[in-house]
Point group: C2
Chain length 340, copies 2
């Protein structure tokens, strides 16, 4: 009996159908315009089509569509030094100003000297002291404000642009393409979770709650006016690197990703973990082999890895064995940056 | 120039508009049908309207709409004992079978005796031993399979129904109402994160990645066939109770919730933290004052709190001072359970 309500339901259904049809017509032919045709691009498109086509044996229900991306070296430039480490080094003068006794203590003395070569030689345990001094001991709000200010002014010395512009356009396209097909995209980074969350939404379209990173504890307390606030503590909760990546994924997401993207030895376990799941999975490894447009390092040997992750030849050999797909920056990407 | 493409865009816009209009007509008048009219219901509706109406001074951008819900006692029955603790007690025979020497050791001896009064008297440190023995030391996959099996067969002794049916219908309505208005709903529970994630999607429509709970570390390793897997370790990462709730919210979500719902002393800090944010915030406290349809305990004093959280009168006094809204189960809810 077509009463008014029955009629609107009918009209609604018709509209929904036409809307879907019109959307299909409007969809651009190539979701990955910055990619050259080749095995890498094909692997991504095949993965999306197989896992999102109703009736396909490898169909993944929308709720389970999770894709994880390493950040440094996978989504943006990490060479010759991680942007977050630049932030920490840039914060040292303010830390020393607040605690003048540090000026005579290593590694703060070296950082204050401005001697770039000496700074580049600082061992890991000294870098850790700098991280603790510049990333903890303040309120979450103060940290956010400081880091935000730095991000809006600091520039990469080679490109003379804010670090947040140095993201790889082809990887941005992969994230958008996956999201357009119902995947939730996560960043799973060895970098600081709080740091990356500040710009993840603006830069990658990834909301803070979809950033898994190296995370310290916070401590809940009260200001003089009684308002509660959180202080960043030096106690490490999650070292989101190597085995810490699948462990962090379990802690923060609770589902195994169907697709994972990385570029260094720190991503091996995440790529293994994703690929070992049931059904069709995609694990990809970005190879930095483009000295001209970006950098060449690791197995590409154009530059040594200094303050960035490890890139053993064995990792790329493993890619072949485990069915991970290697992305050659030089051959697979038409453009590297949006500003190219 | 209305070429074919321009025309489909125009049609598309028209459809979108009509679709939205039809949806508006189809929306039911009362989003909270199981709630009696009163201050609690009004607070929820006012909050949603104020924070989601474009142009409202308290408008919250969709990306920032986060609402957090305690589980035990807020979303489902917690009395006289948490369901997860029942799971752990029920698992003890299997643990003792695997390690027969435990049969003579406390607290396992008492649990194996089946003496309910003695079990109810076990001190917290004994309960912790039971939690460690039954929730850690196995693979994540084995734990998930065991807990799932238990959830599908175990029944609450009073209602003779699966625990997952003992959720409060009015709170389910609040979650749906918030989601329909662009809020992401999170469970923030003192219970085990891995345990709650097993049924959160099915029972509450909350995906595993939106469950923040008490969480232990996992350890990444390899099976004999080389397949990677995660083992649940006894090392605690997050005690998601009291101050641990805002700390857990920061770790797992990274944004302060606009609305928070709790029912015990374990939720105080979460309610404070939410309410202390800028703009319009909603903090609500469920009062168990319905001995007939559910239980009366805490300030309602019908029953003492035994193995469940603390409910000091002071908490309810604080509600008034801090502008939290108390939900009286007896007066505010027309129905408690869907099966009522």
């Amino acid at each position: 009996m077509p009463n008014r309500w029955g009629y609107s339901q009918f009209v609604l259904l018709g509209f929904t159908f036409l809307f879907a049809a019109a959307s299909a017509i409007a969809q651009p032919a190539d979701p990955l315009p910055s990619w050259n045709d080749g095995a890498a691009k094909k692997a991504i498109v095949d993965f999306v089509q197989t896992t999102t086509t109703q009736g396909s044996a490898a169909f993944v229900p929308p709720a389970e569509r999770i894709a994880t991306f390493d950040q440094d070296g996978t989504l943006w430039v990490e060479h010759p030094i991680y942007s977050q480490l630049m932030y920490c080094l840039d914060r040292v003068p303010a830390v020393v100003k607040a605690k003048p006794e540090l000026a005579k203590v290593e590694p703060f003395r070296t950082v204050m000297s401005g001697n770039r070569e000496a700074i580049a030689r600082l061992p890991m345990k000294d870098l850790e002291k700098i991280l603790v001094a510049t990333l903890t001991g303040m309120s979450v709000d103060d940290f956010n404000a400081e880091a935000k200010k730095w991000l809006s002014t600091a520039k990469d010395p080679r490109w003379k642009r804010p670090y947040t512009e140095l993201t790889f356009l082809p990887m941005q396209e992969v994230m958008k393409y996956l999201r357009a097909n119902g995947y939730k995209t996560y960043i799973v980074t060895g970098g600081g979770q709080d740091f990356v969350r500040i710009y993840s939404e603006e830069v990658y379209g990834v909301p803070p709650e979809q950033v898994v990173g190296t995370a310290g504890a916070t401590k809940y307390g009260y200001a003089k006016d009684g308002k509660p606030f959180l202080t960043k503590e030096p106690r490490l909760l999650l070292n989101d690197d190597k085995a810490g990546k699948p462990e962090g994924i379990h802690l923060m997401i609770g589902r195994r990703p169907y697709a994972a993207f990385g570029n260094s030895g720190g991503d091996r376990e995440m790529l293994e973990y994703a690929k070992a799941g049931a059904g069709t999975r995609l694990s990809m490894l970005v190879l930095h082999d483009d000295a001209e447009r970006e950098y060449a390092y690791g197995p590409a040997k154009g530059l040594p890895a200094t303050k960035v992750g490890t890139f053993p030849q064995a990792l790329y050999d493993e890619a072949g064995k485990q069915g991970w797909v290697v992305i050659s920056m030089k051959n697979d990407w038409k453009k590297v940056f949006a500003f190219d």
